[in-house]
């Protein structure tokens, strides 16, 4: 059955939702995956909570350790999604032998990449909830003075994650070393974005690199808005910084996807391993 959409926006949304649904069905096909993915962030939180306790830290940058880590692991989940869902989207299709079909359909490639990312966010919802519960039980204290600020910061974090996913999707498949790059990229953001340790502890020479990661300022804004009661006005600069960096990554991603499409159609080598 061929479905045509007069409105390109409707086609984009339909592709986005269909891809998300497929991602969720694929991810839940194995029982072990159903157990593993939600538990991973909880254990990361618990491990770092004990690490801070061992180091004798009672608070971090004015927030409770549990609150600080809650937001950090939240950011870590979105980064994982950038790499292993939206970033890996085209690579998954290649691995399953469906990338050629993907590039032959009129469906938006961007919608497919975003669909993987959206599916991943939904996939992690139970993890988000359990993480929040664990953080509260272990002493997280919240101070949300301005709910729109918290919403803006959360949205900017998701946008940052999707933008990074776009940039990675082209890079991964063109490099033919997706798994290597994905594994290497996984951990530097924990350090550079201040997900697990405070940004203030970073050496000065790492700060510019830290600012170039789209999630960094979004995580700062989220921490300030949900843990320290910051207003929309006071986190505005952080959110804008994050969005600006996200736009750059997004554009890089779109160019990358164009190149991928060119390679797929003109050289016919995209599916070769």
């Amino acid at each position: 059955m061929i479905v045509t959409y007069r409105n390109p926006g409707a086609g984009f949304v339909a592709t986005l939702l269909a891809t998300s649904r497929a991602y969720l069905q694929r991810s839940s096909a194995y029982l072990i995956a159903l157990i593993r993915w939600p538990l991973g962030p909880l254990f990361t939180f618990a491990t770092w909570r004990v690490t801070y306790h061992a180091a004798g830290n009672g608070s971090v940058e004015g927030a409770t350790v549990s609150g600080f880590l809650l937001v950090g692991v939240f950011g870590l989940i979105t980064w994982t999604s950038s790499i292993w869902a939206s970033g890996y989207a085209v690579e998954y299709e290649r691995g399953e032998g469906t990338s050629a079909s993907l590039f032959l359909t009129p469906a938006s490639r961007a919608a497919v990449v975003a669909g993987y990312g959206l599916g991943s966010f939904v996939w992690f919802l139970p993890s988000f909830a359990a993480l929040a519960f664990l953080a509260i039980v272990t002493g997280a204290r919240f101070d949300i003075g301005d709910p729109p600020a918290a919403i803006a910061a959360t949205v900017s974090l998701f946008v940052a994650s999707l933008a990074a996913g776009f940039a990675f999707s082209g890079l991964f498949i063109l490099s033919r070393k997706a798994n290597l790059i994905a594994n290497v990229l996984q951990s530097p953001a924990y350090l550079l974005s201040g997900l697990l340790i405070p940004l203030s502890s970073l050496p000065a020479w790492l700060r510019p690199l830290s600012g170039a990661v789209p999630a960094t300022q979004a995580v700062v804004a989220l921490r300030r808005s949900v843990l320290l009661g910051a207003s929309t006005r006071s986190i505005g600069a952080d959110v804008l910084h994050s969005l600006a960096v996200s736009v750059v990554w997004f554009v890089v991603g779109l160019i990358g996807l164009r190149v991928v499409e060119y390679v797929a159609k003109h050289t016919g080598r995209l599916e070769l391993f």
Binding site: Y30, I32, T47, W48, V50, T51, V184, P188, L191, S201
Partner: protein, 274 residues
Amino acid sequence: MSQSIPAVSNSSRRIAVQAARASFLAKLREHVFINGAGGYVLVWVAFPVITLGMLGLLYRSRDPALLGYAVIGITCGAFISNALYYVGQILDEERLEGTLINLFLTPAPRLSWLSGFAFGGLFETLVSAACTVLLGTVVFGVRFHPNIAAVVLCFLLFILALWGLGFMFSALGLILKRSNDLANLLSSFVFLLGGIYYPVSALPVWLRVPADVLPFGVGIQALAAASLHDASFGTLAPQLVRLEVFAAVLPVLGLLTFGWLERKVRRRGDLEIY
């Protein structure tokens, strides 16, 4: 007749050694070929170096003694990760490439090619371990005062225990057919309870109970004491006794588990099914 037995035995031994050597070299070449030499090193170095960087920034100002422990912990963590991921992942890849059944049908003993893979992992892990120690020494100024004999003994016992666990995990991966997911799930527990980032004594009391029945914490603690504080065999005796028990029991358990689960999978005929 009495002469033919040693001849057969020698030939079997030769096949076993050749199979171990071939599987060791095959995986090493494959990994270097796929990733390139630079990428190959990078993938093994990125995680421990970044993790040590974070712990270094966290512990440096608070408790420098913990930083020394973390260097040893993360170094050992590389070997633990190897036991968790390496052989199971290879068996999954062989399944994906359609060669898993061939491996099981070869006349070489399972133990030989499995050990070849495991040694490949051990060799690769040494790169990661060396980089962690180097970073700890050069960047964070950690100083070692090793009791060499104690370090060697602790390390051998620790590796033996991990070798046994590696077989168990890869056998479980054979049944579940998702070794990578299993390894990721288990590594979450191991990083929390294994005393890698901090000594097991830093855990809440109720978490120390499961942590104490695992070989990780005691192994890392013994290695940290032997390599950082020149601990003698006498001082290490309580930990060495526990490590010896792990090193004696786990390999046997690992081989038995692998044999049992392998028979189960073969009887079901779903060795190659996803």
